[in-house]
């Protein structure tokens, strides 16, 4: 085999016709990586041997041996800024040997911008500008009207009902940690519910799944009771940690529902299979139930078992809607505008795709 490789080295000063080899700095990375690619008409590749050198005349030392029909390799054992030279030898399943010419010099360098994320960056920048425009408009006093959302109106109704019945409210923030946006949206709603509960002098129970969320939820409820002018009603024992086990948590929360006879249940945030366990038991107690989630797989269960459900983006809009704050509401207007832009864009692309297809068919018929 060594002899074969040596011959391949000697004769392989240029790639066979129709076969290309490339060596280049791996794009959009943190550096220390050179990408090698090879392609061409051949039977499947069996073995790839990669040799590397610091200069064009060598000596080339084995850098990697790959098995299988592979067509690229990222050499991550390189130093940024240092030039490297490569030779690649391919052995096909029919024992044909294809040797590359000397590739290089090529050196790696870190990228300051991930170009593969450029489309997202452009769309995001446009969206942020739209949001900022409406925020600034609201700051100047422009009135923003919001369409009524039944699920959001039901939040105050549920708190009111619990107050009338003199029974506690139960609020859960889902199963994800504090770094998840749906949890943050749930905590924003918790602040509003806590203020209402304090105003109506109603007990608020917040059982938690995640330790980090528990600590934040306790602080939020305490601050909300303080903001509502009723710090005396705040009971830290009502915001507690149950378990970080999915069904252990579900068992704990359903136990609280049955023992404490809670009158209003809020299920906000992200849920998994325990969603139905929680809401079915909740429904059986006769409590008013309001859910809000962006967990698509659990939405049908919430819709079936809860009185009101905030679907997807309504969860994020809730805080702004409930606070009636003009600056917060302004972003909802921005969201609607962006949705309209996306819909228009999709419709245009739809017709362009149809037009392109029919044009291609006409050209094919002509030929």
């Amino acid at each position: 085999m060594t002899g074969v490789l040596l011959i391949a080295f000697l004769i392989g000063q240029s790639a066979p016709k129709g076969f290309t080899f490339k060596a280049f700095d791996t794009p959009n990375d943190q550096g220390n990586s050179i990408t090698l690619e090879w392609s061409g008409d051949t039977t499947p590749i069996k073995i790839v041997r990669i040799f590397r050198a610091d200069n064009a005349v060598g000596p080339f030392t084995p850098a990697k041996i790959l098995f299988g029909n592979i067509h690229s390799y990222d050499d991550k054992d390189v130093q940024d800024g240092k030039p490297y030279y490569y030779k690649i030898i391919l052995i096909t399943t029919e024992n044909e040997i294809i040797a590359s010419p000397v590739l290089g010099p090529v050196s790696s360098k870190p990228s300051w911008f991930d170009m593969s994320k450029l489309p997202l960056f452009i769309v995001l920048s446009f969206y942020i500008l739209v949001l900022l425009y409406y925020i600034l408009s609201a700051r100047k006093g422009k009135e923003i009207k919001l369409r009524p959302i039944a699920g959001l109106n039901a939040i105050d109704e549920a708190v009111g009902r619990a107050a009338e019945m003199g029974r506690p409210i139960l609020f859960t923030t889902g199963l994800l940690s504090i770094d998840n946006l749906s949890t943050i949206a749930a905590l924003n709603i918790l602040a509003h519910v806590a203020k209402k509960a304090a105003q109506y002098q109603t007990r608020l129970i917040v059982p938690n799944y995640n330790p980090a969320v528990y600590t934040v939820a306790e602080a939020i409820v305490r601050e909300s009771f303080l903001a509502a002018g009723r710090p005396d009603l705040f009971n830290s024992d009502d915001i507690f940690y149950i378990s970080s086990r999915q069904f252990g948590y579900a068992a704990g929360v359903t136990g609280v529902m049955l023992r404490e006879k809670t009158a209003a249940h809020f299920f906000m945030g992200y849920y998994f299979a325990e969603a139905l366990l929680l809401t079915e038991v909740g429904a059986s107690t006769g409590a008013i139930q309001v859910a809000g989630t962006d967990a698509i797989t659990q939405l049908p269960f919430f819709i079936v078992t809860c009185d009101y459900t905030l679907i997807g983006e309504e969860l994020y809009a809730a805080s702004a809607y409930l606070s009636k704050d003009a600056l917060l509401s302004a972003t909802i207007k921005g969201q609607d505008i962006m949705k309209a832009v996306i819909i228009a864009f999709l419709v245009i692309l739809f017709f362009v795709a149809i037009g392109a297809e029919s044009l291609a068919m006409k050209v094919a018929n002509l030929l």
């Binding site: 911008f113 366990l277 997807g312």
Partner: protein, 206 residues
Amino acid sequence: MKRFLSRTLPLLMVLIFGVLGAIQYFVPHKVSQVYYRTILTWSIGVSSMAVIMAAISFLRYHYKKIMSSEGDTLYSSIALVAFLAMLGFGAFGTDKGSLFYQFYQNIFVPINSTMFSLLAFYMASASYRAFRAKTFEAALLLTAAIIVILGTTPVGSSIFLDKVTMWIMSIPNLAQKRGILIGVGLGATATSLKIILGIEKNWLGG
């Protein structure tokens, strides 16, 4: 000073780390990766502290329940004993064959599976409520559900309902899922921007 620590400082930190987090997503450079790993390490550290707080909360909650003798002390007693026992067993190792492992496998896992299996019954009762064709939408839901259920059975395949099922799942169902996901993405971005700019302060208690 209290206001600075409870309001101004958190808002300032959110602004700085929020902007840096957004920039980091688009920058693959080593500097950006080092920053990301540092933030991750910090968040693990903070989470570890939260676990201690949560354990204290757990113990306090059940201890008070037992002491208050409200009539439901049994479950709290079991929870406390189980917590302390597993904590003790865990101190001597969690490897296969250890007491911790034996209790986990032979007590916790079966209980967990039992809870999960309850889901089947809850699903049946929830479906019963959902599938009562009282309105046009409910009737539509019922029809779609019957087709999808039958379409995934051998009977359904024999009468070509599998193809209708595939169409329902891949066209109208997928379209609404994508619609919701686009809305969620826009909502999440708007919420992030509001928090970073300090417009949304509810997470600080309003």
